[in-house]
């Protein structure tokens, strides 16, 4: 299934481009993601936690930046991971394209996502992947903005108390009043994701 998302980085393209390629720096901005190992020049291992409704998943896997086109400011990432409890896997090829957008930088993301195993095999919950992806990207962008703004490393995973977002983008889950939001059990309900590729819970068309 193909997903299309975009977000804006409050930095000029040259700066944003370097930040985006600095995986150890940006990984913590991804909700639920944890970078555990740098295994090569542009290859990484990590975990991504995701909760969709009652289902809590931890994908463990690897990602590699396979292509970088400096001139076009385009990068391609391949990522794959498996749920640690055997409930399936996710595999993605993600293309990031950075362009100038009124002084800031716009990042367009095209993801070819394949989910497999039992996480992929629940028809009633299909159609939510897009919404979840949108939510995670939006949280990632927010965290990234804070990261760039503060020019300091934010707390791991940001503190975005993001719950498995399935709201439409115009009505984010995070809109739930903060004081009513429950204490988050970081191991489970805090939704952090590694790469877009790994959000993978629910099913697409």
């Amino acid at each position: 299934m193909q997903l299309n998302n975009s977000f804006t980085v409050p930095a000029d393209p040259a700066t944003a481009w370097n930040i985006l390629l600095d995986v150890p720096r940006i990984a913590p901005c991804m909700p639920g993601a944890e970078l555990t190992e740098v295994v090569g020049d542009r290859a990484y291992k990590g975990n991504a936690k995701l909760r969709v409704g009652p289902v809590s998943l931890t994908f463990s896997g690897e990602a590699e930046i396979t292509e970088i086109d400096e001139a076009a400011r385009t990068a391609k990432v391949r990522a794959r991971g498996n749920d640690t409890k055997g409930r399936g896997g996710a595999e993605a090829e993600v293309v990031f394209k950075l362009s100038e957008d009124g002084g800031a930088s716009r990042v367009d993301i095209t993801t070819e996502l394949n989910l497999s195993g039992s996480v992929a095999q629940y028809g009633r919950a299909s159609g939510l992947v897009d919404a979840i992806a949108g939510q995670i990207i939006s949280d990632f962008a927010k965290n990234l903005e804070a990261e760039i703004g503060a020019d300091a490393t934010p707390a791991a995973g940001g503190d975005a108390d993001t719950l498995a977002a399935t709201e439409s983008a115009s009505e984010p889950a995070a809109a739930a009043p903060k004081q009513d939001a429950p204490k988050s059990d970081n191991s489970i309900s805090g939704i952090r994701l590694f790469f877009r590729a790994l959000w993978a819970m629910i099913r697409g068309k």
Partner: protein
Amino acid sequence: MKSAPFTYHDPGTVDEAIALLGQHEDAKLLAGGQSLMPMLNMRFVVPDHVVDLNGVAGLAGITDTGDALEIGAMTRQRDLMRDAAVGAKAPIIPEALEFVGHFQTRNRGTIGGSLCHLDPAAEQPCLMAVYDAVLTVQGPDGTREVPFAEWPLAYMIPSIGPDELLTKVRVPNWAAGHGYGFAEFARRHGDFAIVSAAALLEVSGGTISRAAIAIGGADVRPIRLEEAEAALVGQAANAESFKAAGEMARKIDAISDAYVSSAYRQRLAATMVERALAKAGSRAGGSA
């Protein structure tokens, strides 16, 4: 299809249950089990701990406080359907519960379990939405009340912390003789609704004085049709106004999945809202 291993706990009190939740990471509460057990068997849910609420004292039961029904979270659907006070004060509840699974599952299934599972197509959350029910949640620091509108945070995620427990819901009473109607479309008897609608009406002299409409199954959580509710007040309780309300339901946001498109859900919402209102109108004795 056997559950993965877990450690089982069967507390006898709410405090013990909350303490257990605090002690153990990755604990799941087991209420009636009619949603959790399938997910355990299929290993969609693989918790380290299961805390069984079936032996916890004081979580089940129905109290009529005069202005509301207080329903314990572990009250089984069967008991709600058989309860005289519920039948008299909130007759839409037994009407809607007929659509919940099958009598064998209603013998175990609890209202609290369903509200915490929060399947968007489930009937009980839809009922709580139409009533603006208030949920009581207890945790290590005491209790807090959550209006139903703030209960769903996201798809199947309620506003409840990992060491909290839903203890009861308060369903405010409507005026005696109010009209009520529950309509649902599912492919087969007992299936999750594709779309359901719950409607409550107070009608005097043929004119609607109060209206509440909730729709289940269409979006990621039950939704209220506030615009239509407002429009209905002051209108005659007749087919025309109900049809107009149905048309408003056609504009709601709706999800699509492998089986059903959002457009079809919107179409069904219109039909179900109109049908639920028609039932409610006829029961309110509103002059047509």
